[in-house]
Structures are given as C-alpha cells and as structure tokens.
C-alpha cells in the first residue's frame, strides 16, 4: 500500500510538471519538468507534514502522506490542463556530437554509471547522508510530521544543553521526498534522487551551452564527469538536487522570450533550492533578485515573486521560528537590531574544514589544480584547464552574446564566492553551482579559440579522461568494500556489529564527544535490521549521575567512538559503574585512522534518575 501510494505521488508530481511545462520542448522541458516535479512534491509533502504538526495527527505516517500529495497534485494537474493552450516553443534541436565529444560523453556517463551501480549494491554511505539526511528522512515518516526529527533537538535547546544533531533542524524538502522513497522501497533506493539530479544538471548545462551559441555535448560531459557529481550521485546528499533547482531556475528565467509565468516559475524553483539546502539561500536570493529585475518588462508584482519564492520552504521556516525563534536555525544571524539565535561558527566546524583541503586560505585560488576527489570536493581537470579559461575569454571578449544567461552566471558566481568568504564556508562542494554553470562556456571552443579549437578540444577530452581514470581509482575502495550491511558499516560508519545487532525498539544514546565520526553512526544504529531510536549528544566531562539525568527518558544503551588520542579513562569516567555497564569495546584500525568503539548498557538505577 505504501509503495503504491508513493508511486501514485511520484506519478502525480510528474503529470503536474509535464502539464506545467507543456509549452516548452526538448531537453529544456525534461530538465524543468524533473525539477518542477521535485519541488511540487516536496512542497505538498511539507505542507502535509506541517498540518500534521499543527493537528497532532501523524499525517505523513505510512501511506497517508503520499496519498494526500497524489490527490492534491492530481487536482492541480487537472486545473492546469483546463487553461487555454498556449503556443508551444519551437524545438531547439541539438546538433550531432563530434567524435571527441562522444568520447567525453561516454567517459563522463560511464564513470557516473559506475559510481551509481557501486553505491547501489552497497548499503547507503556518506558522512552527511548517514548522520542526518537519511535519519531525517526516516524520522519524518516514522513520526509522521515535520517536527518529529527536531523533537529531541528542541528539548536539548530548551534545557540549554549542547544541541546534538543540529542539522536535523535544516529545511527538509529533499528529505521529505527521500523519506517517501525509503519508506516505500527501502534504503537501496537512497541514491536515486541524487543520480537523477546529476543527469538533470548535465542536461541543463547542455541547454545553457546552446543558449550561449555553442554546442551542448562537451559541457554536459564535463558536468557528468566532475568527481564531486560522480561521488554524490550514489549518496543521499542534497547538493546535486539543490544545484539542479537553481540550474533549472536560471534556464527558465533567462530565456529570450521569458514571459510572466517563466519569471514566477523561476522564483518557485529558486525557493525549492532554499528549501533543500540552507547554504544555498544566498544564491537562491540572488536568483530571486534576477527575477525581480527581469519582471520590469513583465506584469508581475514583486510581492507575488517573494511569496512564491517562500512557499517551498515556508513550512520548515515556520517550524524553526516556532521551535527556535529563528527560521534559519541552526545558523546564528545578527542583522542590525535583529538577533536570531543559533550555533556559533565553531560549533559547525566549518572553518576547521579548510584544513582538509588547503594548508592556508591563500591557496584556494589554485586548489582546483591539486584538488582531492570525494563527495565533498572535485571539479575535474576540465574545469581548471578548459572551463575557467573559456569563461575568462568570454568575459573579456565580446565573442559570446551578453545575454540574460551570461548575467545570471556572473551574478550567481559572484554571490556564491562572496557568501563563501563572508560566512565563511570553506568547502568546495558549496561552489558546485558556479562550477557547473561555467562548464557551459566549453561549448563555444570554436568561437573562443578561433583557429586553435582542435588543440583545445584535444586538451578538453584528455582532461575528462584523466579525471575519469583518477575517479575510478578513488572509487576502488568503495568497489572492494563488503556488501553485507554489518561489515560495511563496521568499516564505513564506525558501527560495530555488537551495536548494530541491538534489538528492535532499543533507545540508543550516540555520544559524539570523543569523535565526530560518531555522527555517521546514527543511521546504521537506527536501521540495521530493524528500527531503533537514536538520540545524539555529547556528555564528555559530565559526572555519571548528571549523565543519567541528561539522557532521554527510557534510554537502553550508549554507543560512542573515541579517537586514538582520547584516554579510555575519559570515556569510562562518564559512563561508569554501577550506573552504566560496559557491554563491549574494541579498537579498530582502518586505512587512515585507529579508533575505539564502545557500547554501554544503562542500568535501571540510572534510568530512574532520568527526568520525568
């Protein structure tokens, strides 16, 4: 029943998007339809989850949420189809790919497919996916409302305790759609949305290249082959979905013949990106600003544009205002007299992430030359060797028409880089949108390098092949990882089988005091075999009696991971006898680090100390 309801919801979303885009044609229609379907489904499911929180009935639970979404979207489709048919846009046919473009396309598509297959046959992986994307997706449907994932977080916030798994308070547009899939078809489909988004991004970049007067194939291939895209296409992150929303928004907005409905749709899609990923809010607002500029010769009022921009994220922002007095929680903001409470920059650890990529900030401009490949970094050789020179040439010369698309690229790139410096966000994946948009300039090699386009094309295709070869090398560790869930998570998510084998219904406290890797244990602890309840927090330095008082009511076990430089006595001082019993501990050495994993049972005496 749940699977059928979810299929109906996805089919209704697809029908709605196809009706919405019936005046478009070609690849642009496919790109805009896919993204519109996602934003529509996410928005309706969010509203259902919000209504559930208000009424106290778990409307998202089981099949009810997808069924309500299917009905609503079916009705909206019928209303759309009653509108007078407009004039269909002439189909912009893509030229046939040249041999070198075909090589790049097959290479990029091949390595993406390999990544998807490798990730699909293994249990879900990826640090952010396991620590909060998938737990949030599960929790939304287990609890049946948008406040279910933030319930314990809110309790910690009210008690002035350190907030454990703070990303659970981010807007959950991606997770509410992902959760429907997980609930209906299991977590072997966790990769699906991101993989589709990768293809949509490549199609959108191809359309942008044609709009610039170039050829679509190499830009699409370079986007497919970007290591960051390849690695994320197999994991339940949300970067690709968010980028796909903004690529589609820019495509709709920057059409030469963009009308009133195009500007409105672009604002909705930009709002969809903001509802998917908070870090994309500055760029989404920049796209909204472009919509406001574009509306001058179109009869659209600015309040309408702002309203439709807010709609996809409205439920999530309203939830965070109600719970934490800050729509963007956990991001702490001070805007003049307005102070929005949240966590400090150090709590995120974002500034510290810079060390993972460059020895000092001054090295960022050359980072793309020595970049690492993973799900958080890697643009590919084609970016630095071909795309950046092409964008510079296009900007310095007047070879390429200064269209609205060019202006959009310039605004998005500037705002994205400025936001990364201002906040700061020193992580390469947060620049994925300007990177993929820059690939579009690679379609105009003939115009930009007149007389030398063959040499540049050869350099471009070698760059994609080199990137693909290195990516396959980096994928080898995932390819050779064990497929069995217990062994996989023991290696990839620091969850020992003795913890993964806890009985159904167990309430587990996951202590992240002594290693950030304990965050990645959340999803495996929740779902290895059967459902458990996992609460995240940090109790280092707390006396055992106080620890018992701060544990959630009814906690059965404590799981934690400690780095090698942590003294075991530091851990056992918190979880000490007789209030806690050490069930098992083991030291495991991986390829890059050695850690100790611990499982404690909570005594009856300790549970009695928990607040009522």
């Amino acid at each position: 029943m749940t699977a059928l309801a979810t299929l109906l919801a996805f089919a209704a979303a697809a029908a709605f998007a196809l009706a919405l885009t019936r005046y478009r044609s070609g690849v642009e229609r496919v790109v805009v339809s896919c993204v519109s379907a996602y934003v529509a489904l996410a928005t309706v499911l969010s509203v259902v989850g919000g209504a559930a929180s208000l009424t106290g009935s778990p409307l998202l639970h089981a099949a009810s949420g997808p069924l309500i979404a299917a009905g609503s979207l079916g009705l909206a489709t019928a209303l759309l189809l009653r509108r007078q048919p407009g004039q269909q846009a002439p189909r912009a046919r893509w030229c046939r790919p040249a041999a070198w473009e075909l090589v790049a396309l097959v290479t990029g598509g091949g390595v993406l497919l390999l990544s998807v297959v490798v990730h699909a046959i293994h249990p879900p992986a990826g640090f952010d996916a396991l620590s909060y994307h998938l737990p949030m997706a599960r929790s939304l449907y287990d609890g049946g409302s948008v406040t279910a994932p933030t319930h314990f977080l809110h309790q910690q916030w009210l008690a002035h305790q350190p907030v454990g798994n703070f990303p659970l308070a981010y807007p959950g547009a991606f997770e509410v759609v992902e959760g429907a899939l997980l609930h209906a078809f299991g977590d072997s489909t966790a990769w699906l949305l991101q993989a589709l988004a990768a293809v949509v991004i490549a199609g959108g970049v191809g359309v942008a290249a044609v709009r610039l007067g170039g050829r679509p194939w190499f830009p699409a291939a370079a986007a497919l082959a970007a290591p960051l895209v390849v690695f994320q296409s197999g994991e339940a992150y949300d970067d690709l979905i968010g980028v796909a929303c903004l690529v589609a928004a820019l495509l709709v907005l920057t059409r030469d013949d963009a009308g009133r409905s195009d500007v409105v749709l672009a604002a909705v899609l930009a709002g969809g990106a903001a509802a998917t990923k908070t870090v994309m809010l500055p760029v989404s607002v920049a796209v909204l600003a472009l919509c406001l500029l574009r509306r001058r010769d179109r009869p659209v009022t600015w309040p309408l544009l702002v309203l439709v921009f807010v709609v996809p994220a409205a439920v999530w922002w309203a939830r965070d205002i109600a719970l934490f007095h800050n729509p963007f929680f956990p991001v702490r903001l001070s805007l003049g007299p307005l102070h929005l409470p949240g966590l400090s920059q150090s709590a995120y650890g974002l500034a510290a992430q810079q060390r993972n990529f460059v020895p000092r900030a001054a090295a960022w401009p050359v980072y793309p030359v020595f970049e690492k490949y993973s799900d958080t970094t890697g643009y590919g050789a084609a970016f630095v060797v071909v795309a950046v020179p092409a964008a510079v040439l296009a900007s310095l010369t007047r070879v390429i028409r200064r269209s609205w698309w060019w202006r959009g690229w310039l605004v998005v790139t500037t705002v994205s880089l400025a936001a990364a410096i201002a906040f700061p966000l020193p992580t390469p994946r947060f620049q994925l949108l300007p990177v993929v948009l820059t690939f579009a300039f690679c379609g105009s090699l003939g115009q930009l390098w007149p007389g030398r386009e063959r040499v540049v094309a050869a350099v471009a295709v070698v760059a994609v092949v080199v990137t693909a070869v290195v990516t396959v090398d980096r994928l080898r560790s995932t390819i050779s990882a064990p497929v069995a869930r217990g062994e996989f998570y023991a290696a990839a998510a620091d969850v020992e089988p003795f913890a993964a084998g806890l009985p159904a219904g167990t309430r587990v406290w996951d202590d992240t005091s002594w290693s950030d890797y304990a965050f990645a244990a959340v999803y495996p602890l929740m779902t290895s075999g059967h459902r458990r309840f996992v609460f995240v927090g940090a109790l280092a330095g707390v006396a055992p009696t106080a620890a018992c008082r701060r544990l959630p009511r009814g906690t059965d076990d404590v799981y934690t991971v400690s780095e090698l430089n942590v003294q075991p006595a530091d851990v056992t001082a918190v979880y000490a006898e007789p209030l806690f019993h050490l069930v098992a501990t083991t030291q495991r050495t991986g390829p890059h680090r050695t850690q100790r994993r611990w499982l404690f049972a909570v005594s009856t005496q300790c549970r009695a100390l928990a607040p009522g």
């Binding site: 020895p359 030359v369 020595f370 003939g446 007149p450 007389g451 030398r452 290195v470 090398d473």
Partner: protein, 61 residues
Amino acid sequence: MSRRRPDDDARPPAPRPWLRLLVVLQLLALLGYVALHSPLMPTIARAVGVHPPDFCYFTCR
C-alpha cells in the same frame, strides 16, 4: 567545432598570438594536474614543503 570544406570562400580567422600563449598555459595546467593526481604527488608535495596527504593516487590506499 565545424570542419571547413575546401570550397569555403571565407578564410579561416587568423589565430590571435596571445591565444597561443593561453593554449600553452592550458597544456601546462593539464600536465600539472596529471602530475598532482599521479603516484608522483607525495614527492611533489614534499618538494614544495607541504605535508603530503594521507593517501596517494593509484599506489597506496
């Protein structure tokens, strides 16, 4: 990337000299990228006084 036919009347655009320099720089950037993503990477890192990362391409895990 259109192939020119012999009967085309228009003469091919004259390559700009600075474009040649740009292409040379692109080739050097590609070579540098390949070297930094090859088993040579730890050696290069040590040569420029940077601590090599905890992995190396193609050789060790």
